[in-house]
């Protein structure tokens, strides 16, 4: 064998260079799977749509999200066809129950679960065409900090971190926040506590996370990372019911405690991030 190694093929496009975030793009993410990311994405979209916003939800977990299951939609044309040039972007956008639009990845996307320059460029192209046409684009990302998740989050103007009060979920949320601060120089991350068991617990948890970050994470930025508690979604049997019936909770029982919480989350976003609908 030849002793002189050729340099390993470098792919500068696939490097995780944080991009300038696009406007009105919310990345819904979490440290750990199974904490309700997709549930929050879909129902928050419905809550915002009800308040007059034009919303699109994108399966940014590239086929690993359960958005299709939550919405009970199994389209023939998906983001996969757009990426492979078999369909136009507008052909893959579907109306979802709840009055918003959705762009599903399709199971064929699993092969794209690794961030290559191709995925990256296609993703950027899709985002650039989508963003001007909607008031809000919600990226339903994967859990943790895989390349694809970090890339999707880097495109967002706001990060919504979903966690449950369980220690494992909080530890993973904390670890993910550390990465987002270090890698993407995020200054604000909004925290949603799902399955909250008592009023005030979400605020206390966010406060606790903030204290640990202040103590252990040195950002090197002028402004340290700030966690903003966006709201709680209480434990609510209606959520389980809706999931089991394959219905969107905001459509089936919008007046239930979790539904009211999501409406409040939408209002809180209007106060802080997105302009109120005309």
């Amino acid at each position: 064998m030849n002793d002189v190694l050729t340099p390993p093929t470098q792919n500068p496009d696939a490097a995780q260079v944080p991009l300038k975030p696009l406007g009105k793009v919310l990345a819904v993410t979490s440290g750990k799977g199974g904490v309700g990311k997709t549930f929050v994405s879909a129902n928050l979209a419905a809550a915002l749509a009800k308040r007059g916003h034009k919303v699109l939800v994108l399966d940014a977990d590239l086929g690993l999200a359960n958005l299709d299951v939550v919405l009970n939609l199994y389209p023939k044309i998906t983001l996969h066809d757009v990426f492979t040039g078999k369909a136009r972007l507008d052909e893959a956008i579907l109306p979802a129950p709840g009055g918003f639009s959705v762009l599903l990845a399709g199971s064929g996307m699993v092969e794209y679960s690794r961030l290559t320059s191709e995925v990256r460029n296609e993703f950027l192209r899709v985002m650039n065409s989508l963003v001007p046409n909607y008031d809000v684009v919600i990226l339903d990302t994967g859990a943790g900090i895989s390349d694809v998740v970090l890339f999707a989050v880097s495109l967002a103007s706001e990060v919504l971190m979903v966690a449950t009060p369980e220690p494992t979920s909080l530890t993973d949320a904390y670890a993910t926040i550390k990465v987002l601060v270090g890698q993407q120089q995020r200054q604000v991350i909004r925290v949603i506590i799902n399955q909250a068991t008592r009023p005030g617990s979400g605020a206390a948890i966010t406060n606790q996370l903030q204290q640990v970050l202040d103590r252990f994470v040195v950002t090197g930025l002028n402004q340290p990372i700030r966690l903003v508690h966006l709201g709680d979604i209480p434990v609510d049997p209606e959520v389980r019911q809706a999931i089991m019936r394959r219905q969107l909770m905001m459509q089936a029982t919008p007046g239930c405690p979790a539904g009211m919480a999501l409406t409040q989350l939408a209002r809180n976003l209007e106060d802080s991030v997105i302009p109120r609908a005309a």
Binding site: M1, G142, P167, I205, Q211, D232
Partner: protein
């Protein structure tokens, strides 16, 4: 109830000559033992063949198949546990010269001696494999980032200190270059990306003049016990005052 088991396979019907020859060649007993049932014998043959399929015949180390299986397992573990796992890629410097100058038998001998040395440098939990040609790989689970470079250096020095006799009159000295990378913690990543990162470091070590080790230090992602302690200090209070939320009081928001 299942019917009383009758053997569906008769040993004499099976053509086990090739398997027996392979095992015999590897120094394993390939014939049925007196106290062995046909099932036990077949199980032993299959196990031995599996073992053989994972071994590099020249050096006795794990082969590339073994290495990839081990690496896949590790990357799964790391994604869930955040454990620090180090991958080292090692390449013998100027190996082509050894082959060209002293012949391929001498080259094979150098490979065997260095393989044996590498296996002796690490813990039993570590995986040492021949990646191909004169390239080796070592997977070190539970290896803290603090120790990675020191460990790679120790391996490099040990190999550099070897004297490999290739004839009664001649001993060779060989050096290795090492590149290392930690698995990305808490991340669902791929073994290809991990190998690529270690390979980049190996390339760096080669370009910097060989006989050295370069490690891609990980981002500090782990959550320390101290951090966890502070993170969960509220839980004790929570559990002391359990109360359920009323239906009318479900939202709590703190203004930023």
């Amino acid at each position: 109830m299942a019917p009383p088991s009758t053997s569906l396979i008769e040993l004499p019907d099976l053509r086990l000559d090739d398997a027996s020859a392979l095992l015999a060649h590897d120094g394993k007993s390939s014939q049925p033992q007196r106290d062995e049932s046909p099932t036990e014998y077949l199980q032993r043959v299959i196990d031995s063949l599996c073992e053989l399929s994972l071994k590099d015949p020249l050096t006795g180390l794990g082969n590339r198949r073994h290495f990839h299986a081990a690496l896949e397992r590790q990357i799964e573990t790391v994604a869930r546990s955040g454990e620090s796992v180090l991958l080292l890629m090692l390449d013998i410097d100027h190996f082509k010269n050894i082959n060209d100058t002293h012949g391929h038998l001498a080259g094979d001998h150098v490979l065997r001696v260095i393989a044996h040395c590498l296996a002796g440098c690490v813990r039993p939990v570590d995986t040492v494999a021949r990646y191909g040609g004169e390239e080796f790989a070592i997977i070190l689970p539970n290896c803290r980032p603090l120790f990675g470079l020191a460990l790679a250096e120790r391996i490099r020095r040990t190999v550099a200190g070897l004297s490999v006799p290739i004839s009664p009159l001649l001993s060779l000295q060989a050096t290795i270059s090492i590149g290392g990378a930690y698995a990305p913690e808490w991340v669902r990543s791929t073994t290809e990306l991990w190998i690529e990162r270690a390979d980049n470091q190996l390339y760096r070590a080669k370009s910097n003049g060989r006989n050295q080790a370069c490690i891609d230090q990980p981002q500090e992602l782990s959550v320390s016990a101290e951090e966890k302690g502070l993170l969960f200090s509220h839980l004790a209070v929570d559990n002391a005052n359990p109360f359920e939320s009323g239906p009318g009081n479900v939202i709590n928001r703190v203004n930023a």
